[in-house]
Each structure stands twice: as C-alpha cells, then as structure tokens.
C-alpha cells in the first residue's frame, strides 16, 4: 500500500499520547509494564511491525510517527484479546488501536477495500453498498408477515434490530429467517425497522471511523424514538455492543440484549419445543463482542445443550480466550489486505481447532461468522464435513420450524 503522509508536526506524538487520556480509562496507558502480553496474545501480533505493546513503546520513545508510516495497524481485528489480558487493565483496543486507526484515516492511509465499505456505509447505511430499499427483502415469504414498524406503526414488546449482514448476506438470511420463526413460535410481539434501519457502525467505529459511527447512531436513535417498544434484541454481537456500551453516552439508552440472552431467558418455554434430536458434537465459538468483551458465555451454551442429542465440546481457545474469526475492526473488509500480509486467515486457524475438537457442527452467534467459517471449511481439507450453524438455525431445526 502506497503510504503518502502529510508532513506531521513534531508534537503529533505528544498530542496523540495525551489525547488517549481523555478516553475512558485511557490514563492507564501510563502504567504499561511493557510486559509484552498484549503483543503475544494478539492473533496477528507476530506480523505487525508495531504490535500493541510496541506502539506504547513507540509513544514513550516519541517515535509514534514511525507507527503511522507503517500499515500494519490494519491487521488489528479489534478482538480485544490484548485489553482482556493486560495486567495493567489498559483498554488497549479502544484507547490505542482504534485511535491509531483514526489517525491513519485522517492522514488518508486506508486500504481500498476498507474505503469502499466506509463510503458505502455513509451512502447506503450498510457496508455492502446494497440498496436500503432491499434491507427487509429477507422477510418476503415468511408467514406470519414480519412486522415492519414503519408500515404498521404498532407498539411492540421487542424491537429486533436485525443488522447489515443478517439482512443482506445470502448465507445469513437463512439464520435470520430461522430466528424470526423462533420468535413467532414463542409468541413474541416483535417488530423490525426494515428499510429504515441503519448500520450499527460498530466495526466501522473500531476501524477508526468514530464520526461515521456517531452519524449512524444518531440516525438509529432518531428511529428508536419514533416507535414504542420495551427492549431491543440484536442478531449481531457488534450491534449489541454498540447499543449497550456506546449509545448511552450519546443519549440513546434502551435495554438491549443479544438474541441468545433473550432466548436463554425463555429456556423453560423453549425446551418442550425442541422436538428433534440433533445427534452431534457441537463446538461453540465465542464471538469476541458477545463473550470476551461483554461477558456472555453461558447463555449461548445453555441454548445449545438444551437441544436433545447435542454433546457440547470445547475448543482449545474458549470463553475469554476465544480466537477471533478475523471479521472485527474492519477485518470483514480487509480480507485481501490481511491475506497479502499473513497468507493465512484467523478463520482457518479456528476451523482447525474445531476439527481438533472432533466437533461435527461449529455453532456460532455472530453474522460475520457463517460466511467466514464456511469459506475456511472449503480451504481446509480436514474440515470439509464440518457444518457451521448459527444457534438460531440449530434451534429452529430442533423445533421443526
């Protein structure tokens, strides 16, 4: 990637460093021990010219400009492993990696693929560049018809924030429909925003576009105000994270759950409906923004083990230790770039772990994962028989929906 930098002022290092203190717990960066845990646990740390720990080192040595001249910060997938294991509790992902990406963006150093995703988000409200009008097309044919709030304007109990990939991605749509059927079977009074819905923008935020994130949030916030509902559930852990942890600071506060939490609350109601056996070893992949970042580990597992015939197996990286699928922090839109650097994909690494755990099914709970993991099963010989399923798909299969 061609790096052309505008001449930086000598105090950029200092300005940047002190700007970090303004972020939540950002001051903790001063207590960095330079122990190297972050760089070691970072899935792509071995490839970065400046893995997280080294960036802090560079700041202290006042050579941060050198960091901005390399493009390796784009290998960061915002998985939060560094922050989770830092002995000094420095919020490395949010306070350092994301901020560094922001500086790269401001200087115009951005891989083309990512540029397209960000521009599409701004224009069309989704990173794929799909027509907003088609955002609810996945509902076509579903009976009963999915309640699109703009059309019916009815008050509902639950606002289901569907999300970009769950709405548009051809692989994910079957999982989205499965979830719709489950909600109907449970008698949930829910509605979706449909074509009005904007991207949650959380991955874009983590890719350095705070401004874009805030614009999307404001738009979604304005929509939420229009309708009557008691809580929000999301298909996507990234949307869950945005609405739980970032929206309140912008004045948008609603009770929000990930769909696995919502369904786990209703486990007693679900259990008798799980009629079909799924006789298989199922490994569960903890999504970064559901598990590690937001501490939701048990509910998805409770749902999976409730299915008759299922034997839950754990992979060697699990729970807080889970291995990122590589989609976060812009990774979804940096595939070519990251491949060029690493010649391996995090999703492939994870699939090998799934195979090693003897699982027949890899259960996931994030819309980035089915396409990423399924692609990986095609490139790993041993994984050709491994099935990848959203938890919603497994439940629906067992419920005969």
């Amino acid at each position: 990637m061609e790096i052309t930098l505008n001449p930086l002022s000598p105090s950029v290092n200092k300005t940047f460093y002190t700007s970090l203190f303004d972020l939540k717990d950002g001051e903790r960066i001063r207590t960095c021990l330079q122990c190297g845990t972050c760089s070691g646990v970072c899935p792509f740390g071995y490839i970065m010219k400046f893995p997280p720990g080294k960036i802090v080192g560079a700041l202290r040595a006042e050579i941060f400009e050198q960091v901005l001249k390399t493009d390796t910060v784009w290998m960061c997938v915002s998985c939060n492993a560094c922050a989770s294991f830092c002995p000094s509790n420095i919020p490395i992902t949010a306070a350092l990696m994301t901020r560094t990406k922001e500086e790269m963006l401001l200087a115009g150093n951005i891989p083309t693929e990512l540029q397209a995703a960000l521009e599409n988000t701004q224009r069309y409200g989704n990173p794929m560049g799909e027509s907003p009008r088609k955002r609810a097309d996945w509902t076509l044919g579903l009976q009963p018809e999915v309640n699109v709030l703009a059309k019916t304007r009815q008050p509902v109990d639950v606002l289901w924030y569907v999300g970009d990939y769950a709405s548009y991605h051809s692989r994910m749509q079957s999982a989205t429909k499965a979830l719709a059927r489950i909600l109907n079977a449970l008698g949930i009074n829910f509605g979706i925003l449909g074509p009005e819905e904007f991207s949650d923008g959380d991955s874009q935020r983590l890719a350095g576009e705070r401004g874009l994130f805030e614009m999307m949030a404001q738009k979604n916030g304005a929509l939420f105000k229009k309708y009557k509902f008691n809580e929000i559930i999301t298909t996507d852990p990234h949307a869950f994270n945005a609405m739980k942890n970032e929206y309140p600071a912008m004045g948008i506060t609603y009770p929000v759950k990930h769909y696995t939490q919502f369904l786990a609350e209703r486990l007693e109601q679900l259990k008798p409906m799980l009629k079909n056996e799924i006789k298989a070893k199922v490994a569960y992949h903890d999504p970064c923004y559901l598990g590690r970042v937001n501490g939701v580990f048990d509910e998805p597992r409770a749902l999976i083990t409730a299915i008759p015939g299922v034997e839950l197996v754990e992979m060697s990286h699990q729970r807080i230790n889970s291995l990122c699928c590589g989609g976060g922090g812009g990774g979804m839109w940096l595939d070519g770039f990251q491949w060029e650097k690493a010649h391996t994909r995090l999703s492939e690494w994870r699939i090998r772990e799934a195979v090693a755990s003897n699982a027949q099914i890899l259960a996931v709970a994030c819309p980035y994962e089915p396409p990423r993991f399924e692609d990986a099963t095609k490139t790993i010989q041993a994984a050709s028989q491994l099935k990848v399923r959203e938890i919603a798909e497994l439940l629906a299969e067992s419920m005969d929906l």
């Binding site: 070519g336 770039f337 060029e340 095609k378």
Partner: protein, 319 residues
C-alpha cells in the same frame, strides 16, 4: 437546407476507426426516412485514400496540415463552416474521444440540438439512445431542422458501413487555421511488452466483482490452466490491480475471442464495446439482473469464488 445525413469520419494514425463505419451504417438507415443521401466528411492531410472503403453517396474531403491528426480547434472550426454550408438534416459524430470533444461545442455554437449516445434509428427516423449504464433506452424524434448526434457502436455492424466501391470525393477548401490553442505533441504507444489480449482465443476477464487484487490470483490460476490470458474491465485497471495492457473496453482493447469468460463483470456499455463481438460470452455474476446476461450465451449466478477453484481443478484434470 438538405435532407442529407453527414457522418464525421474519425481516423487515428492513418486508420479509420470502426465507429466510423458503424456511423455510416446508421446514416444509411436514417437517410431512408429523411430522403437525403449519406455524406461522409473526412478531414485530414494527404488522407484522401482513407475514403476508399467508406460506404457513402459522396465524401467531402478537407485537406490541411493542421487536420492531419485530430485536435480540437482545427476540427471544430473546419466543421463549423462545413456544417453551416451543407445545412444537412443530421450530423453524426462518434460517441468517442474524437466526436465527443467537438459535438457539444458545435451544438452550442450553431444552436442545433445534440442527441447523445444514439445506438440505432427506427424506420421512422427516430433516435434510440442508450443511457444510464445501458439500463435505460430513450427514444424520440430527431430535432429539426438540423440534429447533431453522437453515436455509440453496437447497433449496426461495421461491415455495413464499408463498401468495395470507392465513393466520389469532393474537395472542400479548408478555412484559415492559424492561431490554434490545441496541438498534438506526440502519441504514446500502449505497452507492447505484455501479452496481446487481442490475439487470444480465450480470455478470463475480471470485473469489479473480483473485489480485491489478491483474488486475481484465482483468475490467473484458471487462465494458466486453460493456457490463455487474463483481461479486465476499467474499475480493476483503475485500482492498479492489473496493467492497462489488459484493459478491455471503450478506452482499452477491442477483443473478439472465441470465448470471453466474464467474471464479476456487470456488462456496462463501455466494457461491452470492447468485447461485444466475442463469439461466445460466458458470464459469471451473482446479480441476476446484470446487463451482461443480455449479451452472454451462457450465464451463471454461482459465486465466482466458489466456482473458480473447482473449475481450475477440473480444467487441469481434463487436460
């Protein structure tokens, strides 16, 4: 005031462009409803021989050193005078790097409306233009008394604009052409060190759908297995993912392979202009509505990233 149809012939370095013949073919159709003749207009220097295979009722030839190769001022001034003198029913320009430079300016100067992107004429003498990336057709009456038209290829075959009988040539005096603001310094040849895609029997061509530079590897693998070359559409070349020598389209090469495998190419007119004459077009595109399927012989909406590795493997086995 005549009912003739003028056609502004384009030539580059001693070669009449294909578009010129397409315009002549279109002019013949139009002249049937206008009732006039087809008059080819050739500007150049020692270039009269270029008139020899033009299919026209007559050729008006203007010779001047400043007209040897196309430049803006020289051509526009010459044509302004000529069109005023001839007062035709219509003047057809190419929708090209030559025609488009001068048609609109002449339209404003002479106060004759100009119709863009005309593809064909109807038997009643209406124009049918192709706009919005080939997605929309617009039909209407030709403005009167004189209409300027820029014409895109694709509606008529170049052969229909060629003749084995040389037409009669009338020499028209050139106007004064001093004080020109635009001059040609030099031509820069396309890079010939690379493969000549116009000579390939088969092409594996990638479009925007390839998504990034790395995935071109997949196309390269298939092309290597098939023993042919990789070409690309504009967006891929603009990104720098593949050299310009591989560009197929309006501003790139015109190719006529036996099989043109279009991967992730939507089929916009600028690209089709460069490959529409391929014998068989096979299109791979996940968008069922992509215009490419209108000109392809075979198509599939299977994802190319799923298809390519499997196809390459099968090709290797078949060899």
């Amino acid at each position: 005031m005549s009912q003739d149809i003028l056609v502004i012939i384009e030539h580059l370095r001693g070669q009449v462009t294909d578009t010129s013949y397409v315009m002549l073919a279109g002019a013949h159709q139009l002249s049937q409803s206008s009732g006039g003749g087809v008059v080819a207009v050739l500007l150049g220097h020692n270039a009269q021989k270029l008139a020899s295979n033009l299919s026209a009722d007559k050729v008006l030839y203007v010779d001047h050193p400043a007209l040897a190769e196309f430049t803006f001022d020289a051509y526009q001034i010459t044509l302004e005078n000529l069109i005023k003198q001839q007062s035709p029913r219509a003047v057809i320009f190419g929708h090209s790097s030559i025609g488009m430079d001068i048609a609109s300016g002449l339209s404003a100067r002479l106060e004759f409306p100009v119709v863009s992107s005309c593809r064909t004429f109807t038997s009643e003498g209406k124009f049918i233009s192709q706009i919005c990336g080939g997605k929309i057709m617009a039909e209407g009456d030709l403005p009167a008394p004189t209409a300027l038209i820029t014409m895109v290829p694709g509606g008529y075959k170049a052969e229909s604009g060629q003749s084995s009988q040389p037409p009669s040539v009338e020499i028209i005096a050139a106007p004064a052409l001093g004080d020109l603001r635009v001059s040609l310094k030099q031509y820069i040849e396309p890079d010939t060190s690379d493969v000549d895609i116009t000579k390939e029997k088969m092409l594996v061509s990638v479009g925007r759908g390839i998504q990034n530079k790395d995935n071109i590897e997949l196309a390269n693998d298939l092309a290597a297995a098939l023993g042919c070359a990789v070409s690309a559409s504009r967006p891929v070349v603009d990104q720098g993912w593949i050299p310009t020598t591989r560009l197929v389209g309006k501003s790139g090469k015109h190719v006529k392979p036996k099989i043109y495998l279009a991967l992730g190419i939507s089929g916009a007119p600028e690209h089709v202009e460069g490959m529409g004459d391929s014998e068989y077009i096979v299109a791979v595109n996940t968008d069922i509505n992509a215009p490419i399927f209108n000109i392809a012989k075979y198509g599939t909406t299977v994802d190319m990233f799923d298809l390519l590795p499997v196809l390459t493997e099968k090709v290797k086995q078949a060899k």
